[in-house]
Amino acid sequence: MPSQDPYPTFLSRLRAAVLSRRAHLILGAVTILAVLFSGYDATRTRPSDGTIWRLGGDRIEVLSTLTGSATDPTPLRRGDRILGIGSVITPTPQEAAASLRRFRPGQMVSYLVQRGDAQMILPVPLGSTRVDLRDYAVNVVLALIYLIIGFAVYLRSDNDRPANLFFTMCLLFSLYFTTNLQQVSYFLGALITQNMGAFARFMLPPVFLHFFLVFPSRKVTLTRHPRLSPLIYLLPLLFYLQFTLDQFVTAAGGRISTPVWMILGVYYVLGLIALLHGYLSYRDPLMRERVRILTYGTMLAVVPFLIFKIGLEEMNYQAGLSRLGAVPLAAIPISFGYCVARYQILHIDLLVKRNLAYGGLTLATWLGYFGGAWWLGGKALALVPGGNPLVAAGVMLTIAALLWPVRVMLQAGWNRRFYHARDNMAAVIEEISREIPRLIQKKVLLKRVGIRLGEALGLPNLAFYVTERRDAPGRFTLAGRVSKPVPLPRPAPATDPGATEPVIRPRTVYPDTLDLPGITPVLSEGGEPVWIDPVAAQAPDDAQAITREQAELRQRRQEQSLLLQHGIQLLVPMTAGNRLVGILALPVRPGLDYEIHELQLLTIVAGQIALQLENSRLYEEEVAKQKMEEELAMARRIQARLLPGSIPRLEGIDIHAVNISSKQVSGDYYDLIPREDGKLALVIADVSGKGMPASILASNLQAAVRAQCDLYDSPARILDRINRQIHASTEPEHFATLFLAIFDPARHSLVYSSGGHNAPVLVHADGTTRELDKGGLPLGAFDFGSYEEEEITLAAGDLLFMYTDGLTETKGPDGDEDFGEGRLSTLLRDRMGIRVDELITGITADLATFSGRNEHDDDITMIALKVGAPEAVLARAQKQ
């Protein structure tokens, strides 16, 4: 299938439309009509005077006379102006054709002719436009071979580019053969046939070349230059337009000149070169073998075609050797047909005779439809004498519209008979199986498969429901629905007047959710489709449920009744492993039961969908996980930037801080902000939440603290302002605990206030401890409340230790015991004599020993500040 363009432009849409399967189907139908028309036209016996006329404008001028025709030699000469034919003045080609039609080939007809200045009446022998039937039979056989093989390939292909091109090539060859022998005359039908033949002549070479550029292998040039494909068609298309213009507008006559034929011949030669190149480039002997016969077949066909058909017949008008050029061309479809059947080339794996019959009957249905509309229209128009063309169009349109349901009914019959038959289900399963793995997105998957299933089973609609692990048992959510506007007819009324008529909606409605706790176990355990029996669903329910089984049965009946009310008749479980992933809901088919092979198809396909849905879910989870990890990495980077790059050095003060990030990045941060007055602001904070939101809040908090620190001396006031700011700019569930202290190194005084943060521990030199717990509520949680502050003076040897809860809440190996404040205090007291960096390192090591692992569940942040010379303290410690 062609890949989906996420941003379709007009050109891409046009391209998709041109390359679509439907466009090819239309092309095929049009070609068949053209072939039939040209066949009819070529075999009609109509008189011809053996000349080519100027067909446009207001006069009829002889451009040339046909040599070798039945009318050769004709008394008419190039340049003659034909004023009248057979006692009728004929100013236009249409009138000339109408006049000629009164005669029979072989008759002598008087022509009124202006030759130079002289006007004269000439007796002209008439030949026939009817082609030589023996030659034509050969061409018709060839055309049929091409049509049959072309359509067989088309019907079994999966919109494969080479297959479509091959199909188009076959159509053009068919058209070429059926128009090849026809004489030019003044009849509109012949003119149209000539134009169609010219179309085939001009467009065959580029299609031939294009096909062998993508088959047997796509040429690199085409991949590198994707615009080359349309360019191939440009020149022949221009030739064709020029031809048509000459034919109808400029009246220069319709002939393909020798230079143009030579250019078209170059296309064929290039096509052959491309084929040979493709063949020779295969190193794999198996692949070579696969394309060998068709390579030889094509060479055998095209070389005589170029020599005899184009070189001699088309360019030099020597028709005697025509068959030598035409007959070998049968080698192309035959060799391709053989290779398709034997080696499954062109992605076609089987050729079933039934499909040809299906194609034939479909064609016959269409032809019957058009023929019937035409015939009935003619009959109806006969009742409206001398009607306006608009009336004629209206009548034909009405009849066509009225006959349409008949055609649809017939086609549906063929579809049921052939396309949905058990044998073809394998093809459908294979097709869907091939497609499903390519579809990762859930919506696209369900839509594509739904459409294909609907087509295969002739269903007007169907729906997919999925259930998630978190959903309540038996609850299914609508995940995809495919429908076309074909309402289902009402079921026939019950014959038994006493029977309760099942309530079935005429149009299936798929609710957004289905609660089927009763049916779900059946679906889940049995893994088989559940068919909703209208009679059972509507069975009288007056008995009270006594046992659990009875209750379940009642529940199921209610659910079935509900489903029928929605027009749903069949539920097919979508099971992956032992898990019920969802259900495929199918509509009621009045008068038609779901057949066994259809249920098998549905079961298989539903299983595949379930697997793919699971894959899709895993894929989505993986994507989400990746996304989260990326987010965490970003949060980690943000958090790292919040931390000061270095620890300020203060005379007589020993300071150290550390932030140990957990895997999830929980929003801890600390800051050491030297103020202009020489004081140092110490900040430690823990932001609620984790990941990116916590990091962003921490970032905002840091910016706010830094902005306020220089303005105010009072930590309480600072916290109050920050609290209001944070509260105003964040959701209430986002908050932060923060401890702010402003330390004066000169006086060793410290003013602090805590916004709901863990109280820092102050350890005096004598080993006593106290907690700094003045403050208020966490920041951002509420917009009310106030913050207390306290000023303390640190004596020499005093240690202030600030931390986040990640430290004290670290769990032991069994997960029952926290590290705890008590253990922390003891450690601080015991290690008063060492430097603060060693202290923090020691605590970290102790923490790892306590938890039994190096990773932490939460961020851990520590700041330690000690007053006095470390040496003195050390000495005292040693003395103790």
């Binding site: 004498p385 004629a392 349109l397 009405t398 066509a400």
Partner: protein, 494 residues
């Protein structure tokens, strides 16, 4: 089903629009489509002079729809052109009756207009009034255009006449009669090639009718292409053996070529064929004109004697009696006869308002004077008389109608000793038809009189070629021999 409803709605709109707009032929002639188609085809055949086809198709049309007046009208016209009088009368009676039953006013008026051209129709007097209405309502209708082109006042205005017939061809390029009319128009204007082209188209359109070949033959006869004219007249007679006009023309061809015996024989046969019928008198008159134009005095004398005896009350009888008396040496008696006739004609109240007829009387009178002068007057007087006679017709009659007067004028001029002036007059005629025997004899004489030996020899050679098929005892041969001897006697240096 929604789209089907939309399509049917669209179809209904189309049908409604179609019925609203119509086709320009909203009033169908017949409830039977086939009858109407046959009527259209038959009428077209009738216009194209495929008269047998027309009669057949129109007859079948009337079988399918016996009330179809248009078919009856066209069929009557076809019978008329075929000369099948009884059939014509019967069909005309039917057409008259059916026309009165047509309910649609315009259609009925159109039928009346068509019938008005058939003088025996009860509607023959209604032509002008009906035409006045219809030419406003349906100015491009072929029948209206034909009626316009056929109006008598257009006869005097060749340009308007030409435009009228050309307009008809724009509407229907196969309206054969237009080509006939245009051919004669060009012939009268002296545009002989153009006339031949038109007549050729006329003959092309109706090759199985006598009249187109006859018309073509007439143009060829005027231009001296006697052999081609002979073939056309033979073809005409082959198609319609009783087409006396072509037989007379065929006789004229022979007379002009000096095949007097053959010519007279044919003319006599024509006479015998029409003897006792109303055509007899017209045929006799045509024969007399042929003898006059060919300068066959003996034959003329015989024929006028017959005419005078057979039709004593006819207008032309006065003229012929007067001429005969003058030729017998009794010019005064002849003039008396002629004057009494002229007085009677002029006193006829029915001619008082007919300027064309009055002009015709004046022209006949002056011609009579000139002819009598030829018997009684001096050459100078004859010149004056013939000039006077010619002046009356010079711009009013086709050039080839003036040849008799011009030849007589040239003869008078020659007798009056003005060979140069006589030769100039003769050259005008010989440029159109280089095979006019009398003119060639006179021209040779004029050249001899002028001492132009080379000119005389050329004219004599022309004369001798023109006499190649002439009877051995034809007077032209004798004249040619005399002239040859005189040329031989002329000094060679001249």
């Amino acid at each position: 089903m929604k789209w089907m409803g939309l399509i049917i709605a669209a179809a209904a709109i189309l049908i409604g629009l179609g019925l609203l707009l119509g086709t320009g032929q909203q009033n169908h002639l017949s409830h039977n489509k086939q009858a109407e188609e046959l009527c259209d085809e038959g009428t077209a055949d009738m216009h194209a002079f495929r008269l047998r086809d027309a009669v057949d198709k129109l007859g079948r049309s009337l079988e399918l729809d016996p009330g179809l007046a248009e078919a009856a009208i066209a069929r009557a016209k076809a019978f008329q052109r075929l000369g099948e009088v009884d059939n014509f009368k019967g069909e005309l009676a039917r057409a008259d009756s059916l026309t009165g039953l047509i309910k649609d006013t315009r259609r009925r008026m159109l039928a009346q207009l068509r019938l008005s051209s058939l003088y025996q129709s009860r509607y023959s007097a209604m032509g002008d009034s009906v035409l006045q209405v219809l030419e406003k309502e349906i100015p491009n209708n072929i029948f209206v255009l034909v009626a316009q082109a056929s109006r008598p006042e257009l006869m005097a205005d060749p340009d308007r006449q030409e435009q009228a017939w050309l307009k008809i061809l724009q509407v229907d390029p196969n309206y054969a009669f237009s080509y006939n009319m245009l051919g004669y128009l060009e012939l009268s204007r002296g545009h002989y090639d153009k006339a031949i082209e038109y007549m050729q188209k006329y003959a092309f359109l109706a090759p199985d009718q006598a009249n187109p070949h006859d018309s073509m033959g007439e143009v060829l006869l005027v231009t001296g292409r006697y052999e081609e004219a002979e073939q056309e007249f033979i073809q005409s007679v082959r198609i319609q053996p009783d087409f006396y006009h072509s037989l007379i023309n065929l006789g004229k061809v022979y007379l002009r070529r000096g095949q007097i015996a053959k010519g007279v024989d044919i003319l006599d046969k024509v006479r015998s064929q029409v003897e006792g019928s109303k055509l007899e008198q017209r045929v006799d008159q045509e024969i007399i004109n042929s003898f006059v134009n060919s300068g066959l005095d003996e034959e003329l004398d015989r024929m006028t004697a017959i005419f005078v005896t057979r039709y004593p009350q006819e207008h032309a009888t006065c003229f012929y009696r007067g001429i005969r008396l003058a030729a017998a040496g009794r010019p005064d008696a002849g003039r008396a006869v002629m004057d009494s006739c002229l007085a009677r004609w002029r006193s006829n109240p029915s001619l008082a308002d007919n300027p064309r007829m009055l002009a015709e009387i004046g022209y006949t009178s002056s011609r009579f004077d000139a002819i009598v002068a030829d018997y009684t007057s001096t050459p100078a007087e004859r010149v004056r008389k013939w000039n006077a006679s010619l002046a009356l017709v010079r711009d009013k009659m086709p050039f080839y109608y003036q040849w008799f007067q011009r030849y007589r004028l040239a003869l008078a001029l020659y007798d009056d000793g003005q060979p140069g002036a006589a030769l100039d007059e003769l050259k005008l005629m010989l440029d159109v038809n280089p095979r006019l025997i009398n003119s060639l004899i006179l021209a040779t004489r004029c050249s001899i009189a002028l001492g132009d030996r080379a000119g005389a020899r050329n004219r004599l050679e022309q004369l001798q070629q023109s006499l190649s098929l002439a009877d051995q005892d034809f007077y032209g041969r004798e004249r040619a021999a005399e002239l040859a001897a005189r040329i031989r006697e002329m000094p060679t240096g001249t």
